[in-house]
Symmetry: C2
Subunit: 345 residues, 2 copies
């Protein structure tokens, strides 16, 4: 899934070049490339599918030349994750009704790719032989209020995979006291938005719980893999309800499982999460860029990949981000206001 | 005089493009162009001379195409103001022994060009008929410790120009208590480094007080206006003592005069002086650039001429300056450390 606009990461991320297409970590690979790399040994290049906005199609082709062009699906408009997943699922099923699938966002980070591969392969083995909907649940390390949580029933491990448990409930982003309670309880996991299932399972679930979306893609079947596909999608996709897969399926279906895991995951939803997940200096500063010098500064994020030289002096708890001739300096504690800051008067 | 390197204005000003060649005020004209404009009605284009470093010769030609190419004198190395003034003075005298001259830095600002023209024309009239060395003394408006001061004898106005007074002494940059005393005394003026004299006066003064420099340019006489001038200058100029005109002449000569004036002058020596001299918003912020937004911020200077969009939030008393893919954020109170900040480790 590569259709996000990453507005909370301005100015690094902009609607023309959202964060999945940016080398956020300054490592030489963009987030979507890192997501692709993460599946080496799990999935052949010809079995990757990318669903993105029509405007990002060329970016995906450029950044992931290994993926067949016709595996890049272009949404004419944004409709959240359920229609996105439905599109690619119906299309894959038309070609391979026995396909086994991992759905993952393209703009997250994973620090431990080996553990990621182990978990994903184990989950795929599980869904190859069952109609389970499996979510990856991240073991919480702090009382995070920015994530949804998955409540697991740890008393019931699956017989065929002892690492997988039934889900009791999905919980929306909690308040801080609630998040603190979740952290203590040990059976609450962060919902990473990474799903494993076989293609029949998800198509059936969408048919049952989102029949309107199901009908739209059922009617698409004659047009998949033809010249008319894009024009038909452009016509019918906008008719889909704007709904996340969590609301559309997870909170409704019965047979939901969670695979608790710990592989250094972050959704990189905010500058603060980048600060938390990256290597910081002795003064808790994070710098990403070729030549950044911090003086008398603490707890700062300085992100300036294109700047030849950056000097920051005397700041505590600030974000300094420069990209593409746009510059933001703000308190990290105020970063939820970035959208407001950047709105034109 | 256009040979300065403007290191205190990093990153706007760099050794490759110092501040006299930059549109510091964001008005569409660089400081040297504004200095040129300031002399409209005082001096014909063919009577301008620019002394600069060899590396800036092309910049001067580009920015001041009106000036004859051979009036751009190129110093092979930096030797402060005395050798710079000596070079151009000997050269002008060789062509026109009766020339009447204003020497001015190219990187200062003047807010009231009309009053500037009145003062300069009045001083020129005075030096046309006398051997006086005239300095322009800026009426102090604050106890500035960053400028040298001129102590005038206000009891002795010149008979031929009642605005011009004898100088009692030149004073170096004072401490704050001393500057406060100067401000109260009314006969202390800021030394703006702007001088008016006829060419014989300054050449004679240099011969008397700086005989070694005098000899060097005396020996240059046969080569001025020939193909050999540059190579001879490249050889002999470095032999000049590195000395300012203030030390070389002003503090030694007897017949020094001051013309107290008030035309909104600043030497723009520091970001703070830009802050003081430019129009600020209701929160005492100065922004120079096409699209700068300040939120919850006070007493800041934001200078980003090339950035398409800048957002600054939550800063008080900071400088944010971006230029040519270089970025500086620092406390304005620490700006004297800019040189240290930018030094490579």
């Amino acid at each position: 899934m590569a259709g996000g606009v990453g507005s909370r990461f301005w100015p690094m991320s902009t609607p023309d070049m959202p964060k999945q297409f940016i080398d956020v970590l300054g490592c030489g690979r963009t987030l979507i490339q890192l997501a692709y790399d993460r599946f080496q040994g799990i999935c052949q290049p010809e079995n990757f599918w990318v669903v993105t906005s029509a405007k990002y199609g060329d970016l995906v082709k450029e950044q992931l030349p290994e993926i067949p062009d016709d595996h890049i699906l272009l949404e004419p408009c944004r409709r959240n994750t359920a229609p996105c997943i439905a599109y690619v699922s119906w299309k894959i099923k038309a070609k391979n009704p026995r396909a086994n699938i991992v759905v993952a966002p393209s703009d997250h980070i994973v620090m431990d790719n080996r553990e990621f591969a182990r978990v994903v392969l184990s989950a795929l083995k599980f869904t190859a032989d069952s109609d389970a909907i499996v979510t990856l649940g991240m073991k919480a390390t702090r009382p995070e209020t920015g994530y949804g949580y998955i409540e697991a029933d740890l008393s019931m491990a699956c017989p065929s995979n002892k690492e997988i448990y039934r889900v009791d409930s999905f919980r929306e982003k909690p308040s801080l006291p609630t998040a603190q309670r979740y952290l203590q309880k040990k059976n609450y996991f962060w919902n990473a938005g990474i799903f494993v299932w076989n293609v029949s399972t998800i198509v059936n679930a969408l048919r049952v719980y989102q029949p309107k979306i199901g009908e739209i893609f059922e009617r698409m079947l004659p047009y998949f893999y033809t010249d008319k596909e894009q024009s038909m999608i452009d016509e019918s996709f906008p008719q889909c309800e704007n709904i996340s897969i969590d609301y559309a399926i997870m909170e409704k279906a019965d047979e939901i499982y969670v695979f608790p895991a710990s592989f250094g995951w972050s959704d990189l939803g905010t500058w603060g999460s980048l600060h938390e997940n990256m290597h910081r200096d002795a003064y808790d500063n994070l710098s990403v860029g070729p030549n950044i010098r911090l003086i008398d500064s603490r707890n700062c994020v300085v992100h300036a990949l294109q700047e030849k030289k950056v000097v920051v002096q005397g700041l505590d708890g600030y974000l300094v981000a420069e990209n593409n001739d746009m510059l933001l300096v703000c308190r990290l504690s105020e970063e939820q206001r970035i959208g407001e800051f950047t709105k034109e008067d």
